[in-house]
Symmetry: C2
Subunit: 132 residues, 2 copies
DNA sequence: TATCTGTTATACTTCAAATATAACAGATAG
DNA sequence: CTATCTGTTATATTTGAAGTATAACAGATA
């Protein structure tokens, strides 16, 4: 599993880390039941603090993406990822709203916007980097 | 112009304010050349600090959405809003990426995702609240 | 027993966000 | 001329999140 972080970004490290794991699942690079590095080893690998990794793991656990066995370690949820529910759909709309708002104000058509989305979907279906 | 703010949100007030103006432009509630409240009056209306409003205005100015005449006040860019360029498209993709990533991991199909986007576009075309 | 795991606790630094005052300079209305 | 409006700049302070640094605990395991 390849982890890309931008330590200069205004986006918190633990959020970037959380997103990378979700992206790994979406790209089928991480499969249900697969083990993730321990908080200590991953922190050492990336060169960040143990607690920052733990914060990302805790959020992923709370969202149902991973399970944490106290001594065994961390694994991708063997039962699969929780499917989109109403709460998630509302959250998705909430996040999309300002993006679409600005696109419209900048003269982007609905068709053009949807094409951008489709292009991004293609990146996932055509299986990007599978090396780890 | 109706301003809705969530002071409890983790999203900074000045960002919310900036987004509201962009949304106003997208919804055609704010037109090129139209005046916006002064930093002091808007701050007083909303009940926040002058500098917070100023921060939002400065960003909108830097992005080309508004013009600021030193003594006249603030107006929506009379020449229209800057159209989407390559830099904006890249930024848009960057923001959409994690949203699509999570949607895929949660089993949402591309079709379903695009429909969510279309629904949001509809909200803008059918002209929401025009009262101010 | 030594070592791994996640977990918890405490303390500290750094930085963005937001507020609070105050003053300045230019334009304008009285 | 004067008072008042505008954005702008400066300074100081408070608050909270993010991230780091250590340390210790408890359970599992080799």
């Amino acid at each position: 599993m390849l982890i890309r972080l931008d330590l200069e970004s205004n986006e918190p490290i633990y959020i970037q880390l959380r997103n990378q794991v979700v992206e790994g699942i979406a790209k089928k690079q991480l499969h249900p039941g697969e083990a993730l590095p321990s908080v200590r080893s991953l922190a050492a690998d990336i060169g960040i603090n143990l607690h920052t990794v733990n914060k990302a793991y805790q959020q992923l656990k709370q969202e149902g993406f991973i399970l944490i066995h106290r001594q065994k370690g961390v694994v991708i949820n063997p039962d699969g990822v929780p499917q989109a529910d109403e709460a998630y759909m509302n959250q998705l709309k909430f996040k999309l709203h300002p993006l679409i708002s600005e696109s419209i104000s900048r003269g982007l058509s609905e068709k053009e916007f949807l094409e951008v989305c489709s292009d991004i979907f293609s990146d996932f279906n055509k299986g990007g980097e599978k090396y780890e």
